[in-house]
Structure formats: structure tokens, C-alpha cells
């Protein structure tokens, strides 16, 4: 069902730019193919995006991201000294792929999309594979009476969702080359079954370069949404 | 002077010159410029090198002015050519501009401008103070150019004509026509007699005009008394009277005018003239017939340029004056007709204030009377009276000049401004197309007819 929906959306993306005569695009071009430079640098991954200018100041975006990250958790889990239940610790490998669909509203009246400042909203859904170490035991870790057991856990195809809302600015150089900088507020969450709930409690993550994390604030604790302020720098090319 | 300042000046000069030359405001290969160049050749017959460095043109600017661009290009405005009374006065103006060129006054002014801009950036003085400083600096240059221009012109022409020229500049807001025009000759008709309205209006306007003149006289005398008092105070404090070099004497009332301080300039030249004897040289070194012809061309062009620049009140006034002087002149009738059409159009749009200037534009009673008449007509019956009178004028003169495309097409256009005039204007366009199938307005007339169908 989701695949059908995706195909319909992509079909619309391809058709609609030509339907509205006031939509001139950039010199008659309505499609941009972009990649996010942050992903290969910080997530050992890849992000590719197709933007289609559908109305004079509106464009639709479809993005595919693929990340391989190491999620570092403390030896004490998420800072809780009491390990009275199963909890993820140490380095977890997170491999995720997501599709984000969204739109952009361009703010500058004197030039049509895709140039200038914009506001955007994306909604993403994807799957993630987690593998890592889990600790279990009783009592306080610092107590000499505590016993800790470690074992490996992996969870595959965990549904992940996110949405981004933010602002950005897109410039075009040499008539084809696109630079797109944006900043957004991100909320993401896992949809986990009860089996993996406690292990994955700390693994909900915000995607991209998260300023909150950089500045030392953690987001998310139990199976709750994670928050972030993400920066994105995309480079692309104007096509057809 | 520094090299970089000179370079910056030359760059700006080249840009200004380029803009002016391509602006469409310069006459090329015309009789006026050629006549002016003959005067230049005459003045500089002993200095052919200087003569070759100069390029003199007449311009379309309808103002009483002339300027030296700085690299040898001199521009004489058509307003000035239309105003001068004889060749000697024109020669003085040309000599004055040549003196500016020889003294490099343009560069001096540029440098002063830069200094003032720096002062403004550093906020040492206010903008208006700095502007006045610039004006004073310009005045020094003018006095110097007057003196040197006079010495250049005096051997070949009667010297007192230089003074006459300066006096003419002082009166540049009055024009050269006689101050009595009976507008009934143009606008009265059996279809729409204006006699009684006009005579009432003229009485009122003359009365009002006299009142304004009296008021001005009173103000001028008040000012004189005030200045006398100031001079006495200045003398007491040991300051120089009429310190024209420094401009510090407080007589700054006309600082912002096009030709400020004419009195001082006249006084300076009078001093110079004391040593010179009028040797009885002619007012015309080239030709009086040529001068008359050139001035006549300039006067017609001046009226046309006023209409092209949107000064329809003044262009109407001048063209009627020309028509009064030469009743069989089609060109004058065309300018008048065009001006009337545009006045009616602007009145209909509610924009007449943009193109119909206040009474003080031309300080003559006859202009005031025209202003009163047009004001009365435009305010009567929501402007319909003005359209009616203008249409009758155009009808009369298009019949008088059957070969005139302009008069006929404007008659058609003005008739179209009336709510009930569409059919009539269409028939006028048809008759235009019959008479002038390849005329300059033919496409317009055809389009009007096809739009109406």
C-alpha cells in the first residue's frame, strides 16, 4: 500500500510542474536532484533528494536516506544507575533507511521557486536494524553484590518515523548547481514491539547533525520521541 | 591634484558625456549647432588649436542655460538660444563656457564635491550647509568665467552686450514674447462663444496679477532696507562690503537658483568695462539673417520641447504666441493642438497638476491669463468645457491646415474623450486614413477603427 502511495506521489511530482502556467521554475527547469553532504560525513550514509517545483512558490520533495551509525550509550545505559531491567549499553550499530516526503513553501515574492528562502515540512518513515549489547542484572552497579550479565541483541526492521519542520535557503550558481542549506526541528520515534521495548528505549534518535547532541543535551529516554535541531547542507543539480 | 582624483574625474566625465550624447537631447548636424560653431571659430580665430579641441552642440533642454562638460564639449541649451536678442549675447555665453574649459572648472567642482561628500560622511556639517558651500564655490567659478569670457568676446562684439546677457539671465523666468495675447482669437467660436466669460476672467486675472506684482515689489524693497542695515553692521565690525570672493556677505537668498548672484556678476563686469571703449563693432559678426533664422528655429523647438517634456501649459502659451506672430504657421498650430489634447487627457485622468504649472512658472501677465482661462475651463462641467473648446480649436486649425496629420489625429483623439464623441471620432479617423493612408498615425487610426467594431 505504501509503495503504491509512493508511486502515485512520484507520478504527481513528475506531472504537476507543467500544469500551472505561472510556475516558471528556474529558467524553465522544475526538477532538482540533490544529495546531503552531512550524511557521508557524519553518518557513513547517503541521502538523495528529488525536488519538484509544482506551483510558483511550492515544491514537493522526496528524499531517500541511508545511514550506518554507531549509537554510543554509556556503560550505565542512559545514565540510570539502577539496572533493574534489561537495558542497552555500549556501542550499538544502527543501520537505517528512510523515505521522507514533504513540501517547501518559498517565501520570496519576487522570485519563484526554487530560489530563495523557504519553509519546509517533511514526514519520514523507514526501517532500522539495531545490534548491540545489553546488560541485565540486579542491584546497583557500584555495589559489590550486584551481578551483571551481558548479551548481544539485535532487532531488525524496526519501524522508525520522523518529521522535520524548519527553514532554509537555496541558491543556484552557474545556472545548474544548487546549494541548499536548511535548519530544522526534528522529532523521531521508534515503533517497537514489547519484546524490544526496553532494549531499544534509548535508541530513538534524531537524524542528521543534531545541535542538541552537539551541545551536550540528550534527547529521549524510554521509548519516547527524540528531538533535535538538525543542519543540512545539500548540493544538487537542476535537471529537466 | 592627485592622479587618482584626475582618473576618477575622467571616468565620471566619460560616463556623463556618453549618457548625454546618447540621450537624444543633442542636436547633430543641425543648423543651430553649425551656426554656434561659426561663432566659436570667429572668437578663436587666433587660436586654432583651442578651436579644434572644442566640440559645441545645441541641446534640446528647454532651459536658459549652457554648460562646459570639462573635456572640450560645450552644450548650449535651446532655451537660451531662443532667449538671446543678438549674436553678441550668444558669443558672450560661448566665451563664458570656453573660459570654464580653460580654467578646468569642472574638475575643480568635482574635487570640491568629493570633499563635501567626505565631510558629509564624517558629519562635520549638515547637508544643506555643505550644499551651500558647493554653490558658493560654483559662484567663484562663474565670476571668473564671466571676466575671462568677457575679455575674449569684447574685442569682437559690443562689450555692453555681456551685461545685457546677464540681465537677460536674471529675467530668464520671463520669456521673450510680447505680454499681450488675446486668447479669444484662438478659442472663441460661434459654436461656443466665450466673450463674456473671457472678459470677466481677464479683468480678474489682471487685477490679481497686479496685486501679486505689488506684493513682490513690497518684499523686494523690504529686503533692500534689511541688506542696507546689514551692510552698515558689517562695516562697523570691519568686514568687507560685498565680499563676493568669499560669499560671506549674507546675500544668499538666490543661492539655489540656476543663475544666482546676477547682481554681483553685473557689478564685476561693469568694473571691467570702465576701461574699455565701445569701438562701434557690430552685434553680428557672422550674419544677422542667420541669427534671426536660428533664433526662430530655437523658439519653435523650445515650444515643442516643452510639450515633449510634459510642460503643456507653457508649451501651449509659447505656441499660441508663435501662432499670434505667424498665423499661417502650421507647426505652431500643431504644438498648440497637441498641448491642448494632453491637457484635456490629463484633466480627465485627474493628473493635470503634474503638467499644468502654477502661475509663477512664467512671470508674465499673459501667461497668468492663459492659466486662468484653462483653469476655468477645466473646472467647468467636470472638464467637458475644456474638451469642447480644445476640440473646436483643433477643428478650426485642421480645416485651416488640411495637410497636417497631427491636427487631424488630435482632433479625432480629443473628440473621443467626450462620452458622446465615439462615433464622431471614428469618422475623423476614417477621414484621416483616406487623406493619409501611409501617415505616421495611420496604424493608430486603423486600430481605433478595428477596436470599435
Amino acid at each position: 500500500m505504501k509503495k503504491v502511495l509512493l508511486l502515485i506521489i512520484i507520478g504527481c511530482l513528475l506531472l504537476t510542474p507543467r500544469l500551472f502556467s505561472q510556475n516558471t521554475g528556474y529558467m524553465g527547469r522544475h526538477f532538482i536532484l540533490k544529495t546531503d553532504l552531512m550524511y557521508p560525513l557524519f553518518s557513513d550514509g547517503f541521502s538523495g533528494e528529488l525536488e519538484a517545483i509544482v506551483l510558483r512558490r511550492l515544491s514537493l520533495t522526496a528524499r531517500y536516506t541511508n545511514q550506518n551509525r554507531i549509537k554510543r550509550l554509556s556503560e550505565y545505559g542512559s545514565g540510570n544507575y539502577y539496572v533493574g531491567y534489561q537495558e542497552a549499553i555500549g556501542d550499538w550499530k544502527v543501520k537505517s533507511s528512510d523515505i521522507l516526503l514533504g513540501f517547501r513553501y518559498y517565501l520570496e515574492p519576487e522570485q519563484p521557486a526554487p530560489k530563495g528562502g523557504y519553509m519546509f515540512f517533511n514526514y519520514g518513515f523507514g526501517k532500522a536494524d539495531f545490534s548491540g549489547r545489553q546488560a541485565t542484572g540486579s542491584g546497583d552497579f557500584s555495589s559489590s553484590n550486584s551481578i551483571t550479565y551481558y548479551y548481544d541483541v539485535s532487532a531488525r526492521n524496526v519501524p522508525v518515523n520522523q518529521y522535520n519542520i524548519g527553514f532554509g535557503y537555496q541558491s543556484i550558481f552557474f545556472r545548474r548547481v544548487v546549494f541548499d542549506f536548511s535548519i530544522s526541528y526534528v522529532k523521531s520515534w521508534l515503533s517497537v514491539s514489547a519484546k524490544y521495548e526496553s532494549e531499544l528505549a534509548s535508541l530513538s534518535d534524531s537524524y542528521g547533525i543534531n545541535l542538541i547532541k552537539v551541545l551536550g543535551f540528550e534527547g529521549g529516554n524510554y521509548v519516547q520521541p527524540a528531538y533535535g535541531i538538525n543542519l543540512n547542507l545539500r548540493v544538487g543539480v537542476l535537471i529537466y | 591634484m592627485s592622479d587618482s582624483e584626475r582618473k576618477a574625474f575622467e571616468m565620471q566625465l566619460r560616463y556623463s558625456l556618453n549618457s548625454v550624447m546618447k540621450s537624444g537631447e543633442i542636436y547633430f548636424n543641425d543648423e543651430m549647432s553649425s551656426y554656434i560653431n561659426e561663432i566659436v571659430a570667429f572668437l578663436l580665430k587666433s587660436d586654432p588649436v583651442l578651436r579644434d579641441n572644442l566640440h559645441v552642440y545645441a541641446t534640446r533642454y528647454p532651459v536658459v542655460n549652457a554648460r562646459s562638460m570639462g573635456e572640450g564639449t560645450l552644450l548650449i541649451d535651446i532655451g537660451l538660444i531662443a532667449r538671446v536678442e543678438n549674436e553678441a549675447q550668444l558669443a558672450f555665453v560661448i566665451a563664458h563656457e570656453i573660459a570654464h574649459y580653460l580654467r578646468d572648472h569642472s574638475f575643480e567642482k568635482f574635487k570640491k564635491n568629493q570633499d563635501i561628500r567626505n565631510d558629509l560622511a564624517n558629519s562635520r556639517e549638515s547637508e544643506s550647509e555643505l550644499f551651500i558651500k558647493l554653490m558658493r564655490h560654483s559662484r567663484k567659478a562663474e565670476l571668473q568665467a564671466d571676466k575671462e569670457g568677457f575679455l575674449m568676446m569684447a574685442p569682437s562684439y559690443p562689450p555692453h552686450q555681456a551685461l545685457a546677457m546677464l540681465a537677460l539671465l536674471e529675467q530668464s523666468d520671463r520669456n521673450h514674447f510680447a505680454d499681450s495675447l488675446n486668447y479669444l482669437n484662438f478659442f472663441n467660436s460661434t459654436d461656443n462663444p466665450l466673450d463674456s466669460m473671457y472678459s470677466r476672467l481677464m479683468k480678474k486675472s489682471t487685477k490679481d496679477y497686479q496685486a501679486i506684482e505689488e506684493k513682490k515689489k513690497g518684499k523686494a524693497e523690504e529686503k533692500k532696507d534689511k541688506d542696507k542695515g546689514k551692510d552698515k553692521d558689517n562695516k562697523k565690525e570691519g568686514r568687507q562690503e560685498n565680499d563676493s570672493e568669499e560669499g560671506e556677505d549674507g546675500e544668499d537668498d538666490d543661492e539655489l537658483e540656476t543663475h544666482p548672484d546676477i547682481d554681483k556678476r553685473i557689478k564685476q563686469l561693469t568694473k571691467e568695462m570702465v576701461t574699455l571703449i565701445d569701438t562701434g563693432v557690430s552685434l553680428y559678426a557672422i550674419s544677422s539673417e542667420k541669427f534671426d533664422k536660428i533664433r526662430r528655429i530655437a523658439r519653435f523647438e523650445h515650444a515643442l520641447m516643452l510639450s515633449e517634456n510634459g510642460a503643456y501649459g507653457q508649451s501651449l502659451y509659447e505656441s499660441l504666441q508663435l501662432l499670434d506672430e505667424e498665423p499661417k504657421n502650421q507647426f505652431a498650430a500643431e504644438i498648440a493642438g497637441k498641448s491642448l489634447f494632453w491637457l484635456c487627457l490629463f484633466n480627465k485622468k485627474g493628473d493635470i497638476g503634474e503638467v499644468f504649472t502654477e502661475r509663477s512658472a512664467v512671470k508674465q501677465a499673459s501667461y497668468d491669463q492663459l492659466h486662468f482661462l484653462i483653469s476655468k475651463l477645466k473646472n467647468t462641467d467636470d472638464g467637458k468645457e475644456l474638451v469642447k473648446v480644445s476640440a473646436l480649436f483643433l477643428k478650426k486649425y485642421s480645416a485651416q491646415f488640411p495637410g497636417s496629420e497631427d491636427l487631424l489625429i488630435h482632433y479625432g483623439r480629443i473628440t473621443g474623450l467626450r462620452a458622446d464623441g465615439k462615433e464622431e471620432s471614428r469618422s475623423i479617423y476614417r477621414s484621416y486614413l483616406e487623406k493619409f493612408p501611409k501617415g505616421i498615425h495611420a496604424n493608430f487610426a486603423s486600430k481605433q477603427l478595428s477596436n470599435g467594431e
Partner: protein, 248 residues
């Protein structure tokens, strides 16, 4: 958590808001053009101008104006072709002694258009049911003001329709302004400084006025302010968009 969140958000949000130039677009047409009763295929462009000014130090950067002026003329022609408009340009960059048409026709018409635009006001059309369309720029269309009464010029130029093969003549140009950098403090926060450098120091104005010499009416007028550098990649899409708006 919320306070920290807000503190962190405030800076990037300010940063992002700085990305928005806040330009202006004013588009006006006469009724014939708006109702598609007029269709423009060829336009004669009367000496397009490019002026570049630096405010605060020198008054005018002259050499750039000439260079960009030539490039502007070239680009207008090229972009016109892309949009399906045939643009014929008469400019003053390479005038010869035989170019009397420039002085007799082109410059006179250009001055007449400028005079009409500056002296005559316009009367907006009060079309029923189009309140929103006429007053606001939407996501799909720009705001368009339709004239009931347009500025007019003299009919003495109507012969030019036959002479140049089209009744449509335009006056267009670009004015580029550069302001002194008064936001030096913004460089303490590099992203803001960078954005300030990109945005607030430049203003580019584009104008396009089209007249139909047969009807003597000004049929189209457009004015845009863009707070961007007057680079080719910024001006060209504006011209492209302008020509597209003209045809639609």
C-alpha cells in the same frame, strides 16, 4: 529542557529567518493583456540599461555598468528565445554614424514611455469576485493589478509597428545597489555574518514596461526588488519569469 530547547532554537531560527530576503514584486497589466486578448510574440527592447551603484564610497562603478549592460542585452535576447518571445534589441553600445533610427525612433519613444509612466496615474479595474487575486500573492500566482485606464503615449509612434514588425516596445533595465556593510557585528556569529554578506548588502531592482504603439497604451508594467547580488544567475531567472508572466 524546554528552556534549553528554546535557547538553542532561537539562534538558528533567527539565522534561518535572515535567509528570507523580503523582496517585492509589482505586476500590472491592462485588461486586454489580462484577458488574453492580446498576444505578444515579438518585442523591441529599447536600449536596456544596467546601472551599478555603490553607496557610501564612490558614486558609480562605471566600468561594470558598461560590461554588464552588454551582457544584459545579450541575455535578454537569449532568454526571450527560450520563452518563445522574439526580442529585438536596440542599444547604444555600438552606434555608428548610420544609426539614425536610434535617435529618431528608439530614444524618442523611450523618453515618451518614461514620461507617460512618471506623469500619468493608473486606474485599477474593480473586477468583481477577484478581491483575493488582485491583492495577494498566492502560492500559485503572483499578485496582478489590472488597469482600467492605462498610461498612454502619443500616436505619432504608431508607424513604428510596421517599421519594426511589431507594435510592442519595451523599456527594461536593472539597477544594482551595494550598501556599505553596517552589520559588521554579525561576523561575531559566522553564520549570521555569512548570511548578511550574501543578503543585506545588495539590492537589485528590475523593471519592465511594455507599450503597444498602435493602441498607444502601456500594457504591462513590472517592478521587482531582490535583496541579492546582481549576478547573472540571479537576474536571468527574473527576466525569464518576467517574460513568462508577460505571455500568460
Amino acid at each position: 529542557m524546554v528552556n534549553s530547547f528554546l535557547k538553542i532554537c532561537a539562534l538558528p531560527i533567527l539565522f534561518a529567518f535572515g535567509a528570507c530576503g523580503g523582496g517585492l514584486m509589482l505586476l500590472e497589466k491592462n485588461q486586454q493583456l489580462d484577458n488574453h486578448k492580446e498576444s505578444i510574440k515579438k518585442i523591441v527592447s529599447l536600449s536596456p540599461e544596467f546601472s551599478k551603484y555603490k553607496i557610501g564610497r564612490e558614486e558609480l562603478t562605471i566600468s561594470h555598468s558598461e560590461k554588464f549592460g552588454k551582457r544584459l542585452s545579450h541575455n535578454i535576447k537569449k532568454i526571450g528565445k527560450k520563452t518563445g518571445l522574439e526580442i529585438v534589441i536596440f542599444d547604444d553600445h555600438e552606434l555608428s554614424a548610420g544609426d539614425v533610427d536610434y535617435f529618431n525612433d528608439i530614444i524618442r519613444l523611450k523618453n515618451a514611455i518614461r514620461s507617460a509612466i512618471s506623469l500619468q496615474s493608473v486606474v485599477e479595474s474593480k473586477q468583481k469576485g477577484k478581491f483575493f487575486k488582485r491583492r495577494f500573492s498566492t502560492i500559485a500566482k503572483p499578485k496582478v493589478v489590472v488597469w482600467e485606464e492605462a498610461p498612454v503615449i502619443s500616436s505619432e509612434f504608431s508607424y513604428m509597428a510596421e517599421k519594426y514588425g511589431t507594435p510592442y516596445f519595451s523599456v527594461q533595465g536593472v539597477i544594482a545597489l551595494k550598501y556599505p556593510n553596517s552589520l559588521a557585528i554579525s561576523w561575531l556569529i559566522p553564520p549570521l555574518g555569512l548570511l548578511s554578506e550574501m543578503q543585506n548588502r545588495h539590492a537589485t531592482y528590475y523593471y519592465n514596461i511594455v507599450v503597444n504603439v498602435e493602441t498607444t497604451e502601456v500594457i504591462y508594467r513590472e517592478f521587482r526588488i531582490m535583496y541579492n547580488n546582481a549576478r547573472q544567475s540571479n537576474i536571468d531567472p527574473i527576466i525569464y519569469d518576467s517574460f513568462k508572466m508577460l505571455r500568460k
